[in-house]
């Protein structure tokens, strides 16, 4: 099967018998409105056609916390600390109730955002980097992180053509000014800088997200195929001394 030998990012989940996780954890990262969900919508059927069972998981979509997070965001009562902890709780809930069970069952799990999103956002908000990372100690290290990389100037028209600039994605909560356009540019510039930094540190596979949707999809498929080929390759039994003798001839 695909990605064996999973590792935890930090302290992990000491109380959990994780067992053998035969599936693969593939993460799609990238800033707001870069096109992650559009790409994932197309990746899933493509993988299924090839015979892989696939499940999706998305940031802040845990049944335990999504309502709480949305409500709190609407009320603007969150501090960076409670925000970070809520995200970590949402993540842990999905990790233990969705991601790990699916991996155990041999599924490919496609995650729309992962802990790196929290790392990037918190860094921009000035939260202690080390603390943020420790919060995600229970996380599994993904098998593949595909990073949709874009610059802020290319991002702006995409957002305006889409759902428009929203309060949070424009970083209005950071009070960087009352002009939403300027705030968006400043916030996303910093966020993208953080993502790029993380891409180097955690060796993301970057894909140029300025291309048209179909072209990006093609690139993502190439990367996923080559990952699956690599991980599918049968493990050759070690050469026995007798055989070696023959080979040495």
């Amino acid at each position: 099967m695909h990605g064996e030998d999973k590792a935890f990012y930090g302290h992990g989940l000491p109380y959990l018998k994780v067992g053998r996780l035969a599936g693969s954890l593939i993460v799609i990262e990238g800033t707001d409105s870069v096109g992650r969900s559009t790409q994932i919508e197309q990746l899933v059927p493509w993988l299924e056609v090839q015979g892989y069972a696939v499940t999706k998981t998305g940031w802040t979509r845990s049944p335990l916390l999504s309502e709480t997070i949305n409500e709190a965001k609407a009320g603007h009562e969150l501090t960076v600390t409670t925000f970070s902890l809520l995200y970590a709780a949402d993540f842990a809930d999905r990790l233990e109730n969705e991601i790990i069970p699916a991996l155990r069952a041999g599924f490919i799990v496609v995650a729309d955002r992962y802990m790196y999103t929290a790392f990037a956002r918190n860094a921009v908000m000035g939260v202690d980097r080390e603390w943020t990372r420790e919060l995600f100690g229970p996380a599994l290290v993904p098998d593949l992180v595909l990073y949709l990389k874009i610059d802020v100037d290319s991002l702006v028209p995409r957002v305006l053509e889409g759902k428009g600039m929203d309060y949070w994605e424009s970083g209005m909560h950071l009070a960087m000014g009352s002009d939403i356009f300027e705030s968006f540019r400043r916030y996303q510039t910093r966020l993208i800088r953080e993502y790029n930094r993380l891409a180097r540190e955690f060796q993301f596979t970057s894909v140029d997200a300025r291309h048209p949707v179909e072209q990006i999809q093609g690139l993502l498929r190439q990367h996923i195929s080559s990952y699956l080929d690599r991980s599918k390759r049968p493990h050759l039994p070690p050469v026995t001394p007798v055989e070696r003798k023959v080979v040495d001839g």
């Binding site: 302290h11 989940l13 335990l64 409670t82 233990e96 420790e134 100690g137």
Partner: protein, 234 residues
């Protein structure tokens, strides 16, 4: 930082101990006394913020919580109360009384199996109390007190989510013994002041008040009081 003294003019006094240790009774008596002395006092308790109430209820009802999400939801509750309830009165120079603090998480969550280093890291943003009282009581005494009151043990308090035993009393015994051990280990780690909670209520309270008096030796009241005293002196 939970390891360093806080810089605020107020005082933070907290109580810890397992259910049935009598800590809440002692804190209520302390509150009465402090108020009668003319102090401005603010009280807050563990797991009481509205922010995560719904998630907590939902998770507990459907048994959705894992040791990690249980821990993180309580951390959200704590962080929320810290911002809105604990820090403002401390900054204003009031006395804040907290029923349970981070040490509850350090013992309870670790007893549930999360990594002790992880849960300490999660709560790194917490201030260090000026006085942390730990009401120490043997399991059997705690059990007797709880069972003579409300007949039922609380599901999570008994550690029923861990599947240690189907019998709530036996489960409580097993789970809270682990919690006790972890509390005991923190006496040295965080300088908790252990109080023998098997003694009678009044003598415990007198001991508590003696300790509080010591902590208040360098306390000068609220910021407003201090300012008023200063302008009067001029």
């Amino acid at each position: 930082m939970v390891t360093e003294p806080h810089p605020y003019p107020g005082k933070l006094i907290i109580v810890e101990g397992i259910d049935g240790s009598g800590k809440s009774t002692q804190l209520a008596l302390l509150y009465r006394w402090l108020v009668s002395q003319g102090h401005k006092v603010f009280f807050t308790e563990w797991n009481s913020s509205v922010l995560v109430r719904r998630s907590m209820k939902r998770g507990k009802k459907k048994d959705l919580l894992t040791p990690t999400t249980f821990s993180l939801l309580h951390a959200v509750d704590f962080a929320d109360r810290l911002t809105y309830k604990i820090l403002p009165p401390l900054k204003a120079g009031m006395i804040v009384l907290a029923d349970r603090f981070v040490y509850t998480a350090f013992s309870r969550d670790a007893a549930r199996g999360v990594h002790p280093g992880w849960v300490r890291a999660v709560y790194r943003f917490a201030p260090r109390p000026d006085l942390a009282l730990y009401f120490r009581v043997p399991i059997e005494v705690a059990l007797e007190r709880i069972l003579s009151g409300r007949a039922k043990l609380k599901y999570h308090e008994a550690g029923m989510d861990l599947g240690l035993s189907r019998d709530p009393v036996e489960s409580f015994r097993l789970f809270q013994s682990r919690v006790l051990e972890l509390y005991d280990a923190q006496v040295r780690e965080f300088d908790l002041k252990a109080v023998d909670a098997t003694g009678d209520i009044n003598s415990q309270q007198l001991l508590v008040r003696r300790m509080v008096r010591r902590v208040l030796r360098d306390y000068h009241g609220t910021v407003a009081d201090v300012a008023a005293a200063l302008s009067e002196a001029q």
